[in-house]
């Protein structure tokens, strides 16, 4: 950006509205979610059948473990299983 007239600054400020309530906090709490998923990830590493079941339906696998399958937790599990 080269020009910094006031109108343009105001226009650019308006572009970055906050995400809906809770999204940012959920992403900030991702390290805790990751820790909560440690046992599922460990089982998936040891048991190919369990892993296949989890990968086939992440939400159902989380619910079966008593974990609320929020978008944040599902995303963490998906990425963890890809990384292993």
């Amino acid at each position: 950006m080269t020009g910094y007239d006031i109108e343009r600054i105001a226009e650019l400020l308006r572009l970055l509205t906050p995400p809906p309530e809770g999204w940012t906090r959920a992403a900030q709490e991702l390290p805790q979610a990751r820790a909560e998923l440690a046992s599922i990830v460990a089982r998936a590493e040891e048991d190919a059948a369990f892993r296949a079941k989890v990968v086939a339906d992440l939400e159902a696998a989380l619910e079966a473990e008593g974990i609320d399958p929020t978008p944040s937790v599902v995303a963490v599990l998906r990425v963890r299983l890809e990384a292993d």
Partner: protein, 177 residues
């Protein structure tokens, strides 16, 4: 004038396991990621939330792979763009280029969002009370009355404060302060 932590320093601290740095990194880029999802690619709220969370999950997991700590911003932009396209492709036979074309003006929007993030960083550097006043007015669309009540300021002074804060931000962005 506040001295914000650089992106590179934030990345280094995150890598070292500093959870407060992770909180700050998410705070710094959350609006940017959200804007790419809903403004550049026009994802539905449901899809946008999934992509938003997956972006940060991937950033957290793969922070060690980042070649240069300064490159966090383009990396997040690229990652968000790719995940948005993947989401749009679900069930679609169109190519990524066709999907971007369909979304319309993606590159232009991304360039504007990049500029917006630079202005946002300037706002963080200028600090409060200007940061809060400008954020409430321009980003949260709050009225003078609501801002005045929240900050315990006379509503009649908000317009002039906004004007002064914009001038201060402009001076900062032009390197005059």
């Amino acid at each position: 004038m506040a001295v914000p932590v650089s992106d590179a320093e934030l990345v280094q601290r995150c890598r070292a396991g500093d959870e407060s740095a992770w909180h700050e990194l998410v705070e710094r880029f959350s609006r940017y990621v959200y804007a790419i999802c809903v403004q550049a690619f026009r994802l539905s709220p449901h899809d946008a939330e999934d992509v938003f969370q997956e972006v940060f999950a991937r950033v957290y997991e793969h922070l060690g792979r980042l070649r240069s700590d300064d490159a966090i911003r383009p990396w997040i932009a690229q990652l968000t763009r790719r995940l948005c396209i993947d989401r749009l492709r679900g069930g679609s036979r169109e190519s990524p280029a066709e999907l971007e074309e369909e979304a319309g003006g993606v590159d232009e929007t991304l360039a504007a969002l990049d500029d917006a993030l630079t202005v946002r960083a300037g706002l963080d550097a200028v600090g409060d009370p200007c940061r809060e006043i400008l954020d409430r007015f321009f980003c949260r669309d709050e009225s003078y009355r609501v801002i005045g009540e929240a900050l315990e300021l006379p509503a009649g002074t908000i317009a002039s404060r906004i004007s002064r804060c914009l001038a201060k931000l402009r001076a900062h962005l032009e390197g005059r302060s």
